[in-house]
Symmetry: D2
Subunit: 453 residues, 4 copies
Amino acid sequence: MAIADIVIKNGTIVTSEITYQADVAIQGERIVAIGENLSGAREIDATGKLVTPGAIDVHVHLEMPIGDFVSADSFFTGTQAAAIGGTTAIVDFVETQADETMLTALTARRQKATQAVIDYGFHMTICPTDIGKLDQLPAVYQAGCTSFKLYMAYGLRLDDGQLLQALEAVRNVGGMPVVHAENWEVITSMIQRNLSAGRIEPRWHPRSRPDIMEGEAAGRVIDIATLVGTPLYIFHVSCAEVVARIAKARQDGLPIYGETCPQYLFLTDTAYDETGVQGALPVCSPPLRTPTDQAYLWEALGQNNLQVVSTDHCPFTRAEKATGLQDYSRIPGGVPSIEMRFPALYTFGVKSGHFSVNRWVDICCTTPARLFGFHRKGHIAVGYDADVVIFDPDREVTLSTDTLHEDVDWTPYDGLVMTGWPLMTFSRGEMIVEEGRFVGQPGRGWFVQRRLG
Amino acid sequence: MAIADIVIKNGTIVTSEITYQADVAIQGERIVAIGENLSGAREIDATGKLVTPGAIDVHVHLEMPIGDFVSADSFFTGTQAAAIGGTTAIVDFVETQADETMLTALTARRQKATQAVIDYGFHMTICPTDIGKLDQLPAVYQAGCTSFKLYMAYGLRLDDGQLLQALEAVRNVGGMPVVHAENWEVITSMIQRNLSAGRIEPRWHPRSRPDIMEGEAAGRVIDIATLVGTPLYIFHVSCAEVVARIAKARQDGLPIYGETCPQYLFLTDTAYDETGVQGALPVCSPPLRTPTDQAYLWEALGQNNLQVVSTDHCPFTRAEKATGLQDYSRIPGGVPSIEMRFPALYTFGVKSGHFSVNRWVDICCTTPARLFGFHRKGHIAVGYDADVVIFDPDREVTLSTDTLHEDVDWTPYDGLVMTGWPLMTFSRGEMIVEEGRFVGQPGRGWFVQRRLG
Amino acid sequence: MAIADIVIKNGTIVTSEITYQADVAIQGERIVAIGENLSGAREIDATGKLVTPGAIDVHVHLEMPIGDFVSADSFFTGTQAAAIGGTTAIVDFVETQADETMLTALTARRQKATQAVIDYGFHMTICPTDIGKLDQLPAVYQAGCTSFKLYMAYGLRLDDGQLLQALEAVRNVGGMPVVHAENWEVITSMIQRNLSAGRIEPRWHPRSRPDIMEGEAAGRVIDIATLVGTPLYIFHVSCAEVVARIAKARQDGLPIYGETCPQYLFLTDTAYDETGVQGALPVCSPPLRTPTDQAYLWEALGQNNLQVVSTDHCPFTRAEKATGLQDYSRIPGGVPSIEMRFPALYTFGVKSGHFSVNRWVDICCTTPARLFGFHRKGHIAVGYDADVVIFDPDREVTLSTDTLHEDVDWTPYDGLVMTGWPLMTFSRGEMIVEEGRFVGQPGRGWFVQRRLG
Amino acid sequence: MAIADIVIKNGTIVTSEITYQADVAIQGERIVAIGENLSGAREIDATGKLVTPGAIDVHVHLEMPIGDFVSADSFFTGTQAAAIGGTTAIVDFVETQADETMLTALTARRQKATQAVIDYGFHMTICPTDIGKLDQLPAVYQAGCTSFKLYMAYGLRLDDGQLLQALEAVRNVGGMPVVHAENWEVITSMIQRNLSAGRIEPRWHPRSRPDIMEGEAAGRVIDIATLVGTPLYIFHVSCAEVVARIAKARQDGLPIYGETCPQYLFLTDTAYDETGVQGALPVCSPPLRTPTDQAYLWEALGQNNLQVVSTDHCPFTRAEKATGLQDYSRIPGGVPSIEMRFPALYTFGVKSGHFSVNRWVDICCTTPARLFGFHRKGHIAVGYDADVVIFDPDREVTLSTDTLHEDVDWTPYDGLVMTGWPLMTFSRGEMIVEEGRFVGQPGRGWFVQRRLG
């Protein structure tokens, strides 16, 4: 074996399964050896540190036009923040206009991402106007999009017949459908009633989107997926009602998966009771829920009834949020968390005893890689991309807009103290974060040709 | 106590709970005494016979315009057949046109029923165009309609937001919502695909309405009812998928009820494989299912996971059925069973050992009376309407269009042998069926002012 | 019809199913008519009162030798108190000595009961020494004992192999096995350890009999009963752990039944923390549990996951209780409640909204009669024994040793206020309680030839 | 890095999680590197072969005295056969006599094992006579026995109070209790009855040990373990009744684990219907079950409701088996499978589509290592023991006493064709099997100091 470019020495390797001591040798972009006493042109001492796979965030919205606004983080600022937090790959979204093909839309969206600093992919959204274009799915899958976003809410909502057709088409290409599950008809009915009655403040947001109607929608799409015979991945599970339905399906042997997000693990719906823009900031959908729901989500992560934590990172500025103060349904939805997810799950998942350090890696790195076709990421193993984090389990970081690098003027986690933070992040063999500072180049990230199975 | 008009002597009284020997005294329209050695102006010997409450059929369609056709039985012929089969009260349906009030529609529908020979009520259908008229529900309830029909399928389909509003309005008047639960969007998508592919025969009917999509719809409306906080009654449960959801809800303590119908207990989906009109005759929705589903339905009746058997009696002629042979989705849906239900449940429910004779009375008489506000029917008890059946447990009747009195030129039960059949039927103290012949007058039936609680 | 001896006029008849107005005519020992405007030699006005079946208590221990003591109430005092509380039939226990036959033991025990003022039966206990006598069961059943008591605890404990044999023998005669379910080996191990460690006070009693070990034993005997193919009735269910197992079995379609008792519905385990004899008084087995368990028990009664409330009435005096203050395991176990059960379930079951007035009658009268072969009791119906209670739903009674008639110097319910109390109790046509005073004769009660099916 | 002793080149590494191409370098007894293009003093080409961890069999009985017999395989012959089948570590059993200490017994048993050719450990059996010696458990754990065998059947049966104490003691040392769960009292009662009735043939064996009584015992010990707060591992799960109870417990979040064995996956209870010794050969306990149970077991392995497949290897000769032909309860129980387990699970688990190749490694290698404290085995990872199998996925082997190396004159798998078989087995860096032949030395196996957590 030739001398490696880089060897990370004396660290504690943490995979989704085991924890052990060994050196990691990187040559070019890949891990080429794991062993004892490895030598490299550059040797980095990781004594007392954890060496983990780079985290993967399969649910982000960067530079995403939503209504009148565009989500605040660019592909550059967003991926930079992600990298500092230990994330080395993301999946964002493409939406196809009625008069273009999916591949055209993908190409256009890829253009937007050229300044990304870590690797990325896109979920192809299947809009109602795409139902006539389902024969394009094989080409989309071939182009590296293995996952397909289906909305049960908002203007992009598919009705159940369209869901059926979309799920069949995704099944036929062997892809993974991902779904936003809420009962849109009930929600719009409740919003309309609230607004008509002058109930316009943010605290009416959660009261318009009951947990059981998120559960209902999840149950419904699970039923349709069962009819079709396809796996299914449910986005941003916020409450016990959905967990129960996923758990039941899995117990029945069905390939159903669910993710939750930091906002549902760390925040609760009393946040909407704040006055002024403060109550508007944490508006996201599904909404924040109760402490009881939180407890269920943590337990579900430990018991594998939820499989992944991603972020649904979709920041809007305070000013943008404030535009909805006269009508909560017009507040642009979404919160930032692209940077804090991986360390936050360590601090509050592992150190608080909800799950093991291996389960942490599984939730944040290995399982998202596997479900979403990053076949060379998500592991510390020979032949895999050298997407590696050297994680300092003792480093203390207090979250604030000062310490975070997201391009938005607020954070819902202000003052939250992390115990454990990435020291270095490697992306395909290149150290791009060092001591918490981004040291890479804009645009070094690549579009990943994902594939499943 | 004065001498009663009629005393049924020496019979075996069967209630939903107990079986015992006693005489039943009738004065005018009511039962005035149950006792030993009672005397009456007319004494009828019921030695060796069962004395049961008149059966109640809460799901019939008489003279019902559906598409281009009208269901074959008139209120006269339909109720006459019902009475011969031991049924003394029915609930039919009212639908309100966009430009009329519900009360107007009720009045008009009541006009249609003037020739009925037994008592009747109407479920008030809440059509999409009625969502703006929900403030009329208190008046409708006051007018004696305690139950409200909600469609999740067909042109009258309410979307989920409308369902929410309708269920809330029904809850507010203390009424009982009854629902046709199927996932219409999925079904129409499947029908369209089948027709486009030239799959037009009746055997594609069940293949367009999968059991799991009936289960899904039932689960969905249970969820919405739970959100609203209302009881709910699910019509014509055809399969295990729905039973499972009702059973789960009841186990959670929710007031959810379900009925099945003879067609689902006695027929299976292989019936659609017949060629020509024969395969079209049993088209109904939900469709006939598998023998396994049948087994679940019988078991659910025994275990109180289903509470009622009604008929969904809605006959169309062979000629009418044949009009859909080039497009199964245009076959008018529905089968006749208004006459055979009560004895058939005795023969195949009680004698076959699925449940006790008391459970038979509960399923066919007592529970439908209780859930649908026939507060003076459904029991053999003092003060109740003298709706009474003298049932001969040994009488053998072979079903056919000759032996049945329904006004339609076919029956799905041709050749089925009943062991047990009503000898006499009393409606409000009047003997209207004697030895299997109708001996009453057209139009003697009354509209019942139903009330709950 | 001849003029009846007694007519209870104008009352509101409450059965397990319906509530209605009618007169009840009694001739000799039986109900001979229910009707309007009945006349009798004696007419009793029950306007504004409930007319219910006499309550049945299928679990009492009168004059029962247990260890060094005999339970405090004699058959006279115990049944007198029962009658005042509206109970008109009880089931007590027989135990057979090693050297006698079951019938001999039954005869002897019947001798003890000659002063009873209401009707009675006996569960035949199957002791370990009776395993060789199982061929006597047909004779015992013929002699009117349709139920058989099996202990999984105490000296009379059957091991699981003996349980199997006993259950088979009971199945073969068509009887009902009733079981005390606790894991005796675990309990004795825990008691021994506590005593060895000097933990001798009553508060160690519940800590020696964990709820999950009551659940385990219930689950075990349900499994053995399932293997054998027999129904099963579980005594004195105290906790959610047992309810869950019964509910699961019933959901699986198994004929498993459970009762709870007033002590588990009204008292909790903090009672054992009292000092001195006060903490010893409520010692019973299974022990009192937590408020959460209480909530489950009430809910289970409402949902029919428990079917009966009986008392396990087994009073010991304060002095007798005090003998175990140096060793909680020697405190004679049992509490009194034979008098208060029926009204207490009305006040705290019906008025508090846990269940309907009909369910109250079902739980206290109708279902115990049905399960235990009182084929002429438990209903207000023609031909049934005239065991009738005229219940004043407004009468207020504050429980205390002064107001109660049990022959024991304490009550666990001191100060508990009943709203609703029996005004008159009839036993086989004879008014034996009038305005809360016993007006019958000692010894008027009869041994009942019970039969099932 | 120095030149390694051995490098396995170009193989496909299969772990419990991923499958990838890399070379494995072995230095001395350990894996020192995994990488690309590694060089070693000896290089072995594994192109087209799978490189897996050595399999671990946590349930074997070698040279085990049972009644009048000793199980047929010695530690030499048994471990040799194991090694040829790809197994590199086993766990056998120690039993302590009443008059000796556990450590003495362990020492004596270790003496028996000196000829073993692979590494081994022992479960310390806690016999009834050991209940007084539970204070020896810390020393036993320190001596490397992290697991403790508890019998609910046979002469070594602990009653439930003893189970409680034993489980508490195991919990206190942080060990893993393993349990034989059957209801012994019911079984002995049924055996006795069968023998008394002259039902002596092997086919009465399964009829004496009903599946629900295995389920009951599993449920019982799960309940006691839950009370105690300890993990629990259930041996030789044979049927759906036990799977259901484990699945329920795991769904409730309890740390309950179960194994099944090849006999339950490949054989069914009709085997006992054979005449003569043929019907006696497959006698083992729990007995073989139905094809339906088999289907549940395979499904449970795929869904992680069972975690491990071990063998319960315990061979007796045809002559020994024949001694029980006049009394099936005296047939020495046990079947051989120590050699075929790992390849059989590949052929019928992976190739038949029940689970993935990674799940195969998990079930046979990784999870048993983790649960039983082989902290340096069960993985292909740096620093772990070089217990490695080069597995030829295409090699066909037909099982027979000729092809197998177990020291017993029959196999229940005669004629079964394996597709896939180990080519080479390495134990701590030493190649001990080459081309299906054992090439190591007797006695080279070591007792393993196991530790958990």
